[in-house]
């Protein structure tokens, strides 16, 4: 794992009434084409939206609901069930630190404390410049490389210590 991961999330900002940008319409159509009904595309469409807007404000959830022809409440119910859908803005780099047993055995708690101290933020908080959001997460399926973290949706960073995570933060553009 070398090189800086590209940010997936756009800087979070206010989002007004929305429609799918024309550049995304082929992706939306393709997602819908994978299933025999529109409802099954809810998760793929929420992902497409989150990658575009960085988070999922109510206007965007309503857009997804219109697209799959469901009541808004159905899509709100789905979006609030899954932990990876951001219902509040997150920073440009969303640092998700695995805290489950295997990583914890290898020092995840200290890793989290180090990041928290360095960035001056706690779990679920974002730095004032909007650059970093820090979050404790449950098992990422990288247990043999603990402690580990995921930046946005990129491949996991594994076998981390304080020095390695400092280097990682410095590499981010």
């Amino acid at each position: 794992m070398s090189g800086a991961p590209a940010p997936h999330t756009a800087p979070a900002g206010p989002v007004g009434p929305v429609a799918w940008p024309s550049a995304l319409q082929p992706k939306v159509a393709e997602a819908l084409s994978h299933y025999p009904n529109r409802r099954s595309a809810v998760l793929p469409l929420l992902w497409i939206a989150q990658r575009e807007w960085g988070w999922l404000p109510p206007e965007v959830l309503r857009l997804v609901a219109r697209t799959v022809e469901l009541p808004d409440a159905e899509v709100f119910g789905v979006a609030t069930f899954y932990t990876m859908f951001n219902l509040k803005p997150v920073g440009k780099y969303h640092l998700q630190v695995c805290m489950t047993l295997s990583c914890s055995l290898m020092g995840a708690d200290r890793l989290f404390q180090h990041l928290s101290g360095r960035l001056g933020i706690g779990h679920g908080e974002t730095t004032p410049d909007g650059r970093f959001t820090l979050r404790r997460v449950e098992c990422l399926a990288a247990c043999g490389g603990g402690p580990c973290l995921q930046v946005n949706e990129e491949k996991f960073h594994e076998n981390l210590d304080e020095a390695a995570v400092d280097r990682l933060l410095e590499r981010l553009p």
Partner: protein
């Protein structure tokens, strides 16, 4: 990493690409089987091979396939469970990342055996980067005529799509996975009807784990007897064991079923690191009861693990050292289950939350003498009474931790934990 079967070629450079995969024999089984062997013959070979599901439950794969109704007009679906959410398990990720075409080939063959024309791979939400690798391989397979309307010119149609979850352990449970794939909250459904009869879109559906499916090209290509050269009578074949915790060489190891736990940890993983001593091993993912060091010679197969009161599970082997507190370790796991409980049924939703609170106060030295019996009573009342296996998965470790390490829990009553490497641990740099 190497292994006799699934990992044999895994580190071949470029294996994720179609050309290299074909060069090591990939897709030969699709060409040999489709249109030449009947679906029933395929199911019989898989039954005879003794292959059992690699996701955790260990159900015989061929038998599961045979439950799909024949002669129905309704569509049939094949779903690959790549949710890989059981803590301690990280094998499916390596199998897909390094050899995505083996999964595609396994799914084409499984699709043929159950006469399904559509497959989905359900990946956990954190695997967005892995989805790109698999989508790329799927696109290559379509371009080469190995997927789509006319697979390899045989007239068999098989379409394959990936579907990304969004962060929910429960979606590893097959009916919750199907709910999620249909665009609902990932909550489990009542069984029966089982998915083989009424699954995705209420149509017959087979859900198989990644590791199960990547065995299929080998079994159908080489035969059941050949496959049985590995493993035991009732636990045939190889298994990928994911080893984590303070051993010298953590990672995935593909070994014949029946290999003693000690051989895996001492010979393959190089033993404990940093001079630590082994205290306990959770052998099959976080949901199974732990074993004390005294049971290290137990063979890693379904029956031998059951005989010592635990399960082979997903093969996620978590190693715990002497300096790590068992109360704290169980508290860590219980936070996971409380966080991941879907909220549908009371025993799991309330029980995991309650047990987390008890473990927290024990670990903080604020526990009561009655807490240990209360914890045992809660686990006994959750087990078998929750809507889906998540409740059982939370209760079984509690029972196992208390069975083997009760003295450590008793020691915590009224006194703060003194020795806990995990809390004070230096960072894990591999030795």
């Amino acid at each position: 990493m190497t292994g006799p079967l699934l990992f044999k070629d895994i580190d071949t450079p470029g294996l994720a690409g179609l050309d290299t995969y074909r060069r090591v024999g990939g897709y030969a089984t699709v060409l040999a089987v489709l249109g030449r062997q009947t679906p029933d013959q395929c199911i019989e070979i898989v039954k005879a091979s003794g292959l059992r599901g690699r996701g955790g439950a260990g159900f015989p794969t061929g038998l599961k396939w045979s439950f799909v109704p024949k002669g129905t007009e309704r569509p049939k679906y094949l779903v690959c469970n790549a949710d890989e959410s059981e803590p301690g398990t990280f094998k499916d990720r390596e199998l897909i990342e390094k050899n995505p075409h083996s999964l595609i080939e396994g799914m084409i063959l499984a699709g043929w055996a159950i006469q399904s024309n559509a497959g989905y791979v359900y990946l956990r939400g954190e695997f967005g980067w892995l989805q790109k690798i698999l989508d790329q391989a799927i696109a290559e397979a379509y371009a080469a005529g190995l997927l789509g309307r006319d697979v390899a010119g045989t007239g068999f149609r098989f379409d394959l799509h990936t579907h990304l979850g969004a962060g929910a352990y429960i979606c590893g449970e097959e009916t919750a996975l199907l709910s999620s794939l249909e665009g609902y909250r990932g909550q489990p459904r009542l069984k029966p009807p089982f998915p083989a009869v009424e699954g995705l879109y209420r149509c017959p559906t087979i859900v198989n784990n990644v590791e199960t499916l990547v065995n299929i090209p080998h079994i159908l290509g080489q035969g059941a007897a050949w496959y049985r050269q590995w493993g035991t009578e009732k636990s045939a074949g190889t298994k990928v064991f994911s080893v984590s915790g303070p051993v010298k060489r953590p990672g995935n190891y593909e070994l014949p079923l029946g290999v003693p736990l000690r051989v895996l940890l001492e010979e393959h993983c190089g033993g404990m690191r940093d001079g630590l001593k082994l205290k306990a091993v959770i052998p099959g993912g976080s949901s199974v009861p732990p074993l004390p060091a005294s049971l290290l010679d137990t063979p890693l197969d379904f029956e031998s693990m059951n005989a010592v009161g635990t399960f082979l599970g997903s093969g996620g082997v978590i190693v715990i050292d002497e300096q790590t507190c068992m109360v704290d370790s169980l508290w860590n796991l219980m936070r996971f289950y409380a966080h991941e409980s879907c909220g549908k049924c009371t025993p799991c939703r309330e029980g995991t939350y309650w047990m987390t609170g008890i473990l927290e106060r024990l670990e903080r030295g604020q526990g009561r003498a009655s807490d240990i019996d209360l914890l045992a009573d809660l686990a006994d009342n959750i087990l078998g009474r929750s809507f889906c296996p998540l409740g059982d998965a939370a209760a079984m470790p509690v029972q196992g931790f208390l069975k083997h390490f009760r003295a450590e829990f008793e020691h915590h009553v009224g006194q703060r934990c003194l020795a806990n490497r995990r809390r004070d641990s230096r960072m894990g740099v591999p030795a």
